[in-house]
Each structure stands twice: as C-alpha cells, then as structure tokens.
Subunit: 406 residues, 4 copies
C-alpha cells in the first residue's frame, strides 16, 4: 500500500489544469521521478496547447498531446451504444467509457518511452481511479500506478495551494477559491458533481449546466433529422456520411440546441457509496433513441430480448472499470454478432428536451406488413395456429392449477 | 382446435361496442349458449351504463358491471411499477397488465354463475388473446375459452356488418366505415395500432393521440409536483394522500396537460411478428421516473442492480401473458422484498413532454453526505482502502495479462 | 393446420424402421407425393444399408445415406460442450443436439432435389417435432413440413400394423407387439422413454440400459486417461490426436465399460408436460467433467462465471429447438470468445460410474502457485490489500446496517 | 488500514487449536484487550471442552461454547440447498455457508458483553476473511474487526512457535512441523487445501481424505434410502422424521460409507486468485441429488428454469460472503416462494461414489401420466395443438430466413 518509491519514470495523465500540475510537480519532487505527460483531446472542448506550454515550463521533456476523438468514438463509444448500455436505468456512461482509452495510451506510452509507472489525478473516493487502474493492470500487469490523491499528505485546498505557490505553479485567480462543483467532459458527455450538488434533495443550480440549453430555452419549433446506421453504428446524418467523432459532434450540437440529454441522478459508485451527479449527454441521448429504433425493425425478438437482459451486466462492467476484461469481451462478441443487419434510417424530432422517433426504415427490416395487417393477409398467418400456441403454453399452468385444486 | 360446441353458459368480456355486441349475438346464435356479460371500469374513460342497456336489449339476464380501478392499480399496476418494468426498453405494458385482471373476474364470475366457458374479443394475431387465455387457464384449468375472432367465418368488415344488421344490432353511423386505427384504453394507458399506423416509416397522424396534448401544445411553464412513496408504491401527491387509482388518475391529468408519455414504437409480439403502436401513458411515465428516483436513494446497489437485471424477464412475462405463473410470482417476491424501505418523496418538474427529477429525500436514505463529500469526511472513508480494493479486483486481470505476455 | 395436400416431393428423415417405413408409404399413398429418403449415420450404431434396401423396395428413387458423424461432433456436439451445457441440472442434451443437423440436411437435400416439403417421424407430444421444424423453418422459411404422427387418422398400433400389412411393409416379428419403451440414439447418447418407464416412482428395469454396463458390473480397478484440449475442444486421448467423432467414440467405449453416464430423470418438455427418461451419455459425461477441469485452470473468473450464468439459457435454447436462432448464435459467439486459451490436459480416473478429475495442466494456466501459496510469496500478493478490498465491499452493507439501526 | 489499537474488548472465534491460541495471546499482549472466546460446534467433529480448558488457562473469563448445529442446518444449509446452489459447477459451498453464522454469533456476543471488536483466524489470502468481515459489518456497521494474520509481524511458522513458547502456549508435538495441508470442517463438509495440494496437476494423496472412504473401499452392494421432503427441505430418511442437523449427520454417515461426495477442484477465489481444494461433502452430495429429484416432479418448468438461471448468482453471493446482503435476501425470497409445494419422497441408491435416483413420488406431483403417455390419452392433449405452437414459435425465424434470402 505504501507508495512505490522506486519509480524512475512516470507517464502522467495531464490536463494542464491546476490539480494535475500540482501532481506533476509532486511526482518530480516527492518521487524524484522523471515525468512524461499525456494530454488527450477526447473532445472535452478545451485548448490543449496551454497544457504543452505549462508542461514545458515545468521542465517536461516528453510531452504527448494527441487527438484521440476518432478512436474514442469508433472503438469505445460506438461499441458501447451497440449494447444500448445504460447504468442504473439512466446514466449513459460518458465518463466511464473514456477512462480505458486514456489508460491504454498511458500504458502504451510507458512502454514506448521506458517508463515503469503511470499516474492519474482521480481521487480515492471515486470510480475513476478504479477504471484507470484496472485498465492499466489489464494491459500491463507489471505497471506501477501512482494515484497521488490517495497518497499525498495534503489535507486541504490550502495545503495544495501552498504547495503550488512554493513550487511556482501559476494559480489562476479564479482557482484560488474552490470550484463550486467538479467537472469531467469529453465528446460524449459532461458530468458535474460535488459541493453545491451534494444534497440530492436540492435542485441543481442552473449554472451547473454547461453543455446544453435548458428545454425552456430551446427553440419553439422541432428540428427533424434522419440518422443512418450500418452494422449497428451511426454513419450519417440527413444522408451525409460522417466519421464517428464528427457525427457525434454534430449530434451534440443538435442536442445542445434542443435542450436534450440533461440528467440529474443519484448513482451507486463501485467503491460503495452513493453520489449525486448532473450529466449532460446531448448527442448520446439522441443516439440511444435512434439505435433502439433501428433495432426495433431489424433485430429479431430473440436477439433483442437477450440483449436487453445482458445489458445491465454489460453497463455495470463498463461503469466498474472492467472494459478490458474477458467478460466484457464475451458480451461484446455476443452484441456485435447481433448487429450484423442493424442498418437503415431513423427519423427523429428534437424538441425541447424530447427525442421523438417518428419513423424508421431499413432494407433489412423484419417488420412485415403482410403479417401484422388487420386486413386480409392472404394466408401469411393462420389465426387458428394461435389456439394451439396458447394451449401448449397454457399446459403447464393448467397442470399447476389442477394441483392447487383450482 | 374445433370450436367447443357443447358450451352451455359463457361469460363474455363485453365492452358494449359494436364488435363485442356482434360476438355476444354470435355466441347466442351459433353456440346456442346462454351469455353472461362482464364489463369492467378499468379507467378507460367510457360510460358503462350504455353497455348495460345494450346487453339488456340483447336479452342478457346476468349483467356484471364493475368498477375495478382500485384493484387494477393496487394489485396489478403498482406491483409492476415496483419492478420498473419496461418492455423492449420503452413500452410500459399498459395493455398487458390489464388483461389478467379481466380474466380473473371472468373466471370468478363463471364459477359463481355456473358458466363453463368465457369469451373475449381479441383477435388471433395479437398478444391479448394469449394474455386472456393463459390467465384464465392458470385460474381454472377446465374453463373453456372462446375466441370468436379466431373461429367464426366472417371474412370482412362487410360480413360483420351484415351479421349485425341481420341480428338487429344497432350500428352507429360512424362505425359503418372502418376505424382508421384500433384503440385500447385503461387507467394506465391508451394504445393505438393498425391501419393508418401500419407503416413504421410514416409519422403517426396527430389525430391518433387522444389522451395527451402534444409537447408543443403543453404550457410554456413547468409544473412542479412532489410524489410520496411508501414500500415502493406512490401514496401521495404534493402531500395529499390518495387511493391508488385516484393517484394514478391525478398523474394522468398532470401528464396529459404537459404532453408527457407519448410513445411511437415497433414491438415484438409474443405470437412472432412485429407491430407498430402508439402508446400514451401520461401518469405511468411520471411514476416510473419518480419510482426510479426514490429507489436511487433508498435502494442498495446490490438490490438495485439485481432488480435491473431481472426486470427484462419480468416485463417479458407480463407482456407474454404469464402474470399468473410461478416464475412471475417468484420475481415479484424478490422485487417486493427489495421495496421494504423504498419510501420518501420525489420532486419533479413536468414540462412539455419532459419528466425532470429535481430532488429526492427520504428518512430511509442511504445517501451519505459524510461519505461522498469532497471535503474532509472525518474518517468516514479511508481513501487508502481504495488501493487494496483496486489491487485485488485487478489481480485476475494482471494474471491474464501475464499469460498473454503483455 | 390442415395437411398441405399440394405437396409434390418430400424428403423424409428415414431410419429404415417400421414407423418411418409406414410414414414413407403413407406419404406416397395419402399425399401422392414423390418421396426422397434421407438416412443419417449419427453414430446410432445401426447398419444403414438395410434402410437403403427397404427404401428401394418401396420404390424410392432418390436415397440419401450419409455418414455425418464428424460434422455432428465438430459443428454441433463440441460447440455445445464448450458451454458446459446441461438442461435442468442433469441432461446433456444428446437428442436435442442431433435434430438441427438432420433438419439442415433435409432442407439442403430438398433444395438440391427440388422438393417442396420435408417429413419426420416425431410424435405430436414430444420435443423433437419442435426441434425438427424450427430448424427447418429457420433454414427455409417456405419449406412445408409434414409430421404424419400429428396428421394421420391411425388411432392405435393395430391400425398402423393393418396399414403396414395392407401395403406390404414387412413387419419384423418382434415389432408386432409394442416395444416396452422408445429409444433414440446417436454418437452422443441413447435415450429411452415411455411405457415401462412412465411411472417416475418406479425404478427403471435393468434391460432398459443398452449402452453402458451398470456401475456394479464395471471393473473393480479404475481406468486412468488423459484428455487433451485445444480452443475448448477435446483433441486427444492419452496423447493420441483424434478426429472429433473418433474421440467421442473412444470416450463412449471408456464410459460404457466403466458404468459411466447413466441418468434417470423427469424433465420438462417444451410442449408443456413432464416426461421421464433414461439417458446414457457415456463419453459426454466424461467430456463435461474434463472440459470443466481444463477451464478451471485456463478460464478467468469473470469469463467462467458469466459462462455459468448464461449456460441455462443456452441449454434451454438447444432443448427447445432454437439452435438456428440469433440468440443461440449470440451466446455461441460469447462462449467461443472465452475458449481461445482453453487448452492443456486433464487426467481422469474412470471407476464404476465415477469420473474423477485427478490432475490438470496447461501452458495457458492462470493458476499461480506464487499467489496462492501458504508460504512466503515474495510479495506477489500483499495481504494488507485485502483489508481495503473488504472495507470497500462492506461499505454499502454498513450503510444499510446503519439505516436499520443495527 | 493500521491496526485499530484502541480496542478494549474483543470476541475471538476460537477453535482451541494452536493458531487461534496464538491469536488469543497476541490480542492480549499486543492490543492489551480483554478477550472473550466463542467456540461453536458446527459439527466439525471435535471435542469442544479442551477449548474451554485452554481458554481458561489463558485467563479468559467469558467463554462461549455453543452447539449451533441445528441453527446451522435449518437457517443456513437448508435454505441454500433449496437453491441447488453450486459454485463453479461443482463446489457445494460447505465452508462459505458456515462463516455468516459464526460472524452473526460473534457480533451478537459482542453486543451482549459490550465488546467493541471481533477477531478471526482467517488469513489475508483467502475467502474466509471476506465472509467473516462482510457478515460482521452487515450486522453491526461500527464493529471493529481484527484479522491478526493480516496484521502481525510474524513472518514464518518459526516466529509463531517462538511466540507460543515465549507465552507458554502449549504446542502439541505433531504441530511443531507444519501440517501438510490445511483443513476446515463442519457438518456439511471438510475442505483441505495448501501445501501438498498446491500443484493442481498432481493427484491428491489418499491421506488427505478424512471424511469419506474412497469409492474403491466402499461396499460392493448398494444402499437404498428414501428421503422425504417438505417445503423444499429434507425432513425424513426412510420414513423417520429427523431434526435438520440429525438428518444431515445421518446423510453424512451414509455418504461416508459409500464413498460419496469427494471433489478435487481448482476454484476462483473472490480475492482474485485460483486455488486448489479437496472437498468432502458426503451428505450434501446426496441431498443435492435428492432435492433436484423431488423438484423434478413438483416444480413447474417456469419456476425450475428461473431457479437454474438465478442459481449461479446466488451461489456466487454466498461464496463471496454476501449472505447478509439485500440481493441474497431477494433471491432467497424468490427461491423460497418456489418451494411451497416441493414435498414428497425420493428413492436413491448409494453405491461406490454414485448417488443414483431411482424413484420419486409426491402428492403434489405435476407429472401427468395422462398427458405424457404414448397410449391413447383420451383427449388430455390434442397433438394438433403442436402444429400451431410450432408455427408461431417459428414465425420470427421464418421472417429472419426470408430476410437472409434463404
């Protein structure tokens, strides 16, 4: 449990913000380790060049800044949406799904540059530490992981600021006071939690929402769009083919403008406590509705119901940090198998927080007008078959009723 | 499979409408059976006295007209909502949950009045025939079930109308032409399907919606309400205690006015085909959100996740008509066990189709400010525990990684 | 439901026995259809040439006799054993798994020879009719299926024998009386049911068992064998590589001689009733134990537990006849994904009905001596990690206990 | 993580053996705490009075020695067997199920005698520490738990023996050397692991087995018994009613004499590693077979299959130590619901390791001769119903096949 003091070189997940800058310095001073920084553009909507300058300023020689938005969407977000993954009935796993990718790159960079450790800025109370570390260990069993928030001696914000000052880490004026809540963001979502949000009985203040307009502020007229799918993934909007991250970005814009994807919830963390969060997932909320709609005409009932039953486990795996586990890979294999013919288009109306499916069509549709019609179906379905179907389904229930003397 | 011609007395689920009136007459003339009618007030919003008059006119001597709204809510709808039951990710099972109650009363009345058969007006292509009949057989294994739509020789609407005319069944003018779609309604929902709705690519016409205003038409200002829960069931609105059916009716009004609970979907029927339906479940949609919210602070993670995993099966059982099956009773026992401490209040904003949870509180809350806080928690949680937690959770992943030579 | 009288050419699953010979003749005379026969060597241990002669004698021009044992093992039995599939805790699905293969060939032959129908000899009370027909419809949605046992007018054995006599079908003397029970056999198992076995309270007579010696009669000395696995499938016995069907045949011999694989059970049929069967699965019983044993050292816990949870559904799908369903393919994809590193050898002692695993080893073993040892593990595992692991796992339980006032 | 040094009074799970005697002394000397001992008769087959004398000798004033065998069987073992619980396909959870009971009594005694802590002798690598501690925390969230094996400084057996000698703890001569393996025993089973058993490729030496004769040594003639059940629990053997623990003891004798219940496995521990164990569960092995057999005629298919699907989760919960969790209680509620009519008798032959079900009968049997018979069933089952049943089950598969162009 004690800090692995024999670390020589460590790759830090570095945002350029105050906290990870303090961590950077702490790794240098306390551990005497060489620090390599990794800053990812996950679509969080922040400039990354300031992170480079800050790292340079602190003497970092190996600075990795990468745009991983396409990989993030293609290899993480979209596979997850194939499963219609929702944690605890509501949360679209926006933070959870980004962590494995960051860890993957940290481990890869460590391997490339001969580092023996990685470090992250997640606290000891949250899920993210678990996600970072399980992913890292799954990809390199011998990697050392440093989680300064669990290890250092700082007791308060003041201690941190003192350390910053002592080590000439510039502290923006507005960072002197504590932020009223904590934020994580990427292309899929923004989450806010802590401080002013800590009482789940209290409505979240309007200023917490940063990524969407409120339903009230959204336009009074619906926006209609069409999303095209192939093999279970979205591939176009209104007929225009797009790369995964471009498509998600476009959906985000549409969702943002129409007040879509806000969520206020209390969730169960893997580390055993409940926490309250405000999530904004504008594009993802649209995508989920659209994906379910295209599945509704292209997926067989057996496949659809099996997916629905497996989904909560799958979502839990991702939430808990087991993306790189054999059980997640097993479920992914099952899910991907189901998506082979999930293609076609879905038409949606976006209106003041609502995502309304109004039409779906597909060359691979299993919907059969001939079968379902109230009109003469010309023999496609023999209604008399239903009598036998019901009688055999009822047989065991009748046997039970007889036993009960009913 | 042949019609059981030796029926002496049959209890018919009778709405008073044209179709079941034709069935009534057909049972009298074709079967030569004495017909007893059962008409239930399930909250469908129709006068029932006309059904009595019509039945009398056709010579029925035993006419049962009952208000079962309270039983419906208390013993069927609310137990189902304890499970957060949703079929195929979206459908709140409004039609499915009413059928077992109707069958239960049909079978009970048959026993009381010495009838050997029951009859219903569901067609041979739908789920309702299955639900009616499985329920009936589960409650009386020797009951005979007559499903005229599967059995008679009528081939078209014209045949039906001819039969009506020949038998002096009054046909309202507006029933001469075929309805543009088919409707089922009860206190929980209204469903519309068929005809103009048969093409899932086409948006449903506005006139299909009968029970809710559209989000667009709903007020520009949100309505805020508080729902109180006890043992997992809603018991009050804005502090006013209400009987189950009164509470649901009030939620329906609130939902209707705020454009809440509309759903356009393609679902998989138990009989093997896909169908497209328009559902309006105004109160139920509010209730589901509220129930999940009160659970979010009063239900432990283990219980909550187990419920989420069991739910799709439970919903499927209800959809398929297995309400009175041992497996549904098993799951209900598990679900009810989980609800013992699900109590407290949830505050919601209803706004143009949105049900927005803004606060929840409970004397039985498991949410612990002390644990989750970003501030000093005075030892409630030792962040160093997380290191051991992660390392043991990672152990098997590291062992795997070593095997793979990672 | 009525017999499709417009059948022109039908492929019959033909065993050469009395019953399917009567069916053959009935198809010719009643339907006036041209009959093509298909007789498969599934390892049932019967000569197939007599079936050819009998078919020729009855004027059949297209006679298909095929050895499908290898395909049966490789593409049906072994994939199923990867899942450790067991129905209702005990039944190894020996009959269930053979039906889809037979249907597959019937449908293929029908396509090749221009037949519009297939026919089988399964009765209307059993599972096999369902398995045959679901498989056939899944592979050719337009195929007609004829199940004479459900359709003809014969009421008794005497009627059948009269028909046979009238149509010059030779009836072996010992077939004049009714068999005291009914048998199905293939390379995986033999099943016996009906008649003398119908009372589940009565012990099965010794003469029912045809494929194994009783444990009492088996040798007094154990036989030790080693089974080698690759990708989850058995590939060798005692170091000798074997083709799938040869390997299973060898295990059958070993099982038979050592009294292994007998089972007396009451099972739940898909058609809604319970039935009592006697199964003998000598090789399969050994294989299941060995497969679980090799998995025990090569499969990670997450994969293993997920497999165990999915297994009952998978087994039910096979039992119910849904081999060619999308949901079975989804689960197979998940299962196969888990088997990539399931390789190595298992040593077993076979003794009077017992299959005793005594050793297992693998280059891909996840068992770590270093981790588990009671001795000094040189830091492979830090026991102090367990404290944090337990405390975080306990956190939610402690929170619950506090609420309960414990 | 550091040892809670402020413990005043601690209840120790005390066996009277060397290890827990060392722990007792260590708690006195290192912690300066008053020690209360709890020694339970769980049916492990050891005299408990020596434990009293030893405790007295070490100055313990509060000594609790209790016979909990009946409670163990009635409230822990039997509820678990209602579920047919088996971990990883083979392990009957004999150790796992005893831990919660011990913790329950430790916590209760602590409450009664004003102790603020409990202590146990489980090591930091095993599952038992988790089971003890999760149970304790679930029953008293504020209890302190001391696990000396995780905390003390002893590095080797020699250190321990030195400490014993220095503190005048008598060490039996045969305990000077290390035991060749480690044992846990109770009325349900004995487990052996470690040391000579650590190589899973090596056959376990014969001397490891202490509770059963080998199949080879068992009698050459089968023993036939009848077990009676009520509400899913065994209540009699050969017609003689027995208390739970007496019945299990009798089954143990029968199993022991007939070489039944031996198991050699590699299992996945909750703490993340694989371990190899030898288990002997003579009576439990008989009981499991008998319970499945009585269920086979009294349990409906829906209930039976749901139980089979839930079982692996239920077993995992017990294995991992979550007996006192809400999710286990939920599943128990479902399982118990299913057992209401599980009554009747099962006849078994016990022979050289085999448990052979040869008959089962019940007044609540759902097995229907009339339905299943090959003979004329007088209309109990209309074979024509099967055609409709199959056709509707096939409908979605045919629709799929059409899409695929089959």
């Amino acid at each position: 449990m004690a800090l692995p003091r024999d670390v020589k070189k460590v790759v830090l997940a570095y945002s350029g913000g105050l906290d990870t800058s303090i961590i950077l310095k702490w790794l240098q001073t306390e551990l005497g380790a060489e620090v390599v920084t990794f800053t990812a553009d996950l679509g969080q909507g922040e400039e990354l060049e300031p992170a480079r300058r800050k790292a340079e300023m602190m003497g970092i020689k190996e600075i990795h800044i990468e745009d991983v938005r396409e990989e993030f969407c293609r290899d993480f977000v979209f596979p997850m949406f194939r499963a219609n993954a929702v944690y605890e009935g509501t949360y679209l796993l926006g933070t959870s799904i980004a962590r494995p990718l960051i860890s993957k790159r940290l481990v890869e960079i460590a391997r490339e540059c001969g580092a023996d450790a990685i470090a992250h800025g997640a606290t000891g109370k949250g899920n993210d530490q678990v996600r970072f570390e399980l992913s890292a260990y799954a990809l390199n069993p011998d990697i050392k992981v440093i989680a300064p928030w669990r290890e250092w001696e700082f007791k308060s914000r003041t201690d941190l600021l003192d350390f910053a000052e002592k080590n000439q880490i510039p502290v923006a004026k507005d960072k002197r006071g504590e932020a009223p809540f904590s934020v994580d963001a990427n292309l899929l979502h923004s989450s806010s939690e802590g401080k002013v949000l800590e009482d789940p009985a209290e409505e979240a203040p309007a200023y917490v929402f940063q990524r969407t307009v409120s339903p009230e502020e959204a336009p009074d007229v619906a926006t209609t769009i069409t999303i095209g799918f192939a093999k279970g993934d979205p591939v176009s909007i209104d007929g225009a083919a797009m790369a995964p991250h471009e498509l998600l970005a476009r959906l985000n814009d549409l969702g943002r403008d129409n007040g879509i994807g806000r969520l206020d919830l209390v969730e169960n963390r893997f580390v055993g406590m409940k926490s309250r969060g405000i999530y904004e997932t504008p594009g993802g909320t649209i995508l989920l509705a659209a994906h379910r709609a295209i599945e509704s005409i292209t997926l067989d009932r057996g496949a659809a119901h099996l997916k629905d039953e497996l989904m909560p486990r799958y979502a839990e795996m991702i939430y808990n940090g087991f993306w790189f586990s054999p059980e997640r890979l097993m479920l992914q294999a099952a899910i991907d198998k189901s998506q082979e013919h999930v293609e076609g288009t879905v038409r949606l109306k976006l209106y003041k927080g609502n995502v309304i499916v109004v039409g779906r069509e597909s060359d691979k549709s299993l919907y059969s007008d001939a079968l379902v019609t109230f009109e003469d179906d010309h023999g496609a379905y023999d209604q008399k078959d239903a009598a036998g179907f019901i009688r055999l389904n009822a047989l065991r229930l009748r046997t039970l009723a007889k036993r009960q003397g009913l």
